[in-house]
Subunit: 258 residues, 2 copies
Amino acid sequence: MISIVIIGSGNVATQLAKTFNDVNEISLLQVIGRNKNSLKSLSKFTETTSSFSKIKEASIYIIAVSDDAITEVSEKLPFNNRLVVHTSGSVSIQQLSKKNHRGVFYPLQTFTKNKVIQFKNIPICIEAEHKKDQQTLETLGKSISEKVTFISSKERELIHLAAVFVNNFVNHLYHIGNNIVNQQNISFDLLKPLILETANKIINSEPMSVQTGPAKRNDTQTIEKQLHLLKNTHYKDIYKLLTQSIFNEFSTKNKSNE
Amino acid sequence: MISIVIIGSGNVATQLAKTFNDVNEISLLQVIGRNKNSLKSLSKFTETTSSFSKIKEASIYIIAVSDDAITEVSEKLPFNNRLVVHTSGSVSIQQLSKKNHRGVFYPLQTFTKNKVIQFKNIPICIEAEHKKDQQTLETLGKSISEKVTFISSKERELIHLAAVFVNNFVNHLYHIGNNIVNQQNISFDLLKPLILETANKIINSEPMSVQTGPAKRNDTQTIEKQLHLLKNTHYKDIYKLLTQSIFNEFSTKNKSNE
């Protein structure tokens, strides 16, 4: 049986604690964190503490804290030669303290407070320096997800960068869309079926093959009209740059087909 | 019984023809188009022709052609004082010929060839100059969708602009994400659960309230590292501008909360 201790009490730590708590093959021994309120809600599932000196012996220690605290927390652990992993997309395995066996357990998903996530279809990117640790992390991953993949720190950097585009930046474009329709008190609800269909389309198609719109068609009349409608200069700049970028991709594509 | 003639044989025309063909209360009399291949596949459902002189008498004529052809097609119709609508998000009702009653029947969705669309949840934005025509279009809309809304040309302009952000631009960001992971032969499939969750999140939340990522946290270390990873200068510019825009929204928000 794999036993785990989770360090952290934010979104990722909480989701992992709740999920592992329901898995028979995994024993969640403890959650360690500073935020007393978050620990309180977790104390329904398992033992909680704020003190590193009370940390239990476990097969795997999962550090799920903010990126810039990972190194410091890994150095504070009062033991050596055990398996310690972090859960971050953008932090290298090297940033964990050398005194323990190092690894990464990165669930590729966006977590929101109070929304329970089903891990079954979430890709879990794992990495470890030793073969045996890789196997342990694979078993841990497979206990909650059908999509466990070995990913190096270098690959993970690119995945996290791509995730910023398809998640953080996309969400900001939703926000801009929301602002644009709200100007005239039009409900953002009108756009939701379009947003879902746009996301669903790329499940079975390359994004470039389903690109539509004025930029792709180089429909300069519509582009000029829409730029004129945009009063916010930041939004205007974003419109221009993305329009240019779509136009470039398609004009390059046409040239390479000639 | 409302009878209709559809003019056009592209994605929107084809989807509408197939959908109205299944509705008992609507009689699809004819599809008129230039593309013989597309007409051939539609001839299973209804009469097709390429000749405007053979156009039948109907309650509504639906012009579903490319934006820049709408005016010309509306002028070519060999009759007066009938109800003629277009299906475009970005074209004003005024661009239809004055010789007929004018209207708009705009399904707010992205259409792909060979993918059948369920209209039931698609918002249909309608507009007409006469009360009676509004009612006719409302009946037509409600025969296929539960979400029929009266929208003026001015409002529709903004909706279409917002749609460019949440559909065309978002899809381009998916394409960039795809390119980034493909550099290292990492499968784009890894990102798909994240893409779907990002879209699903805004069904019940304001986009701004679920924004995450380095730009929101002003995590300059991650931002610098990611900019360094991006080799494509266009993508670098997009990264910088969207990061700046997210940062601006949150610093403005924080200031207004002070």
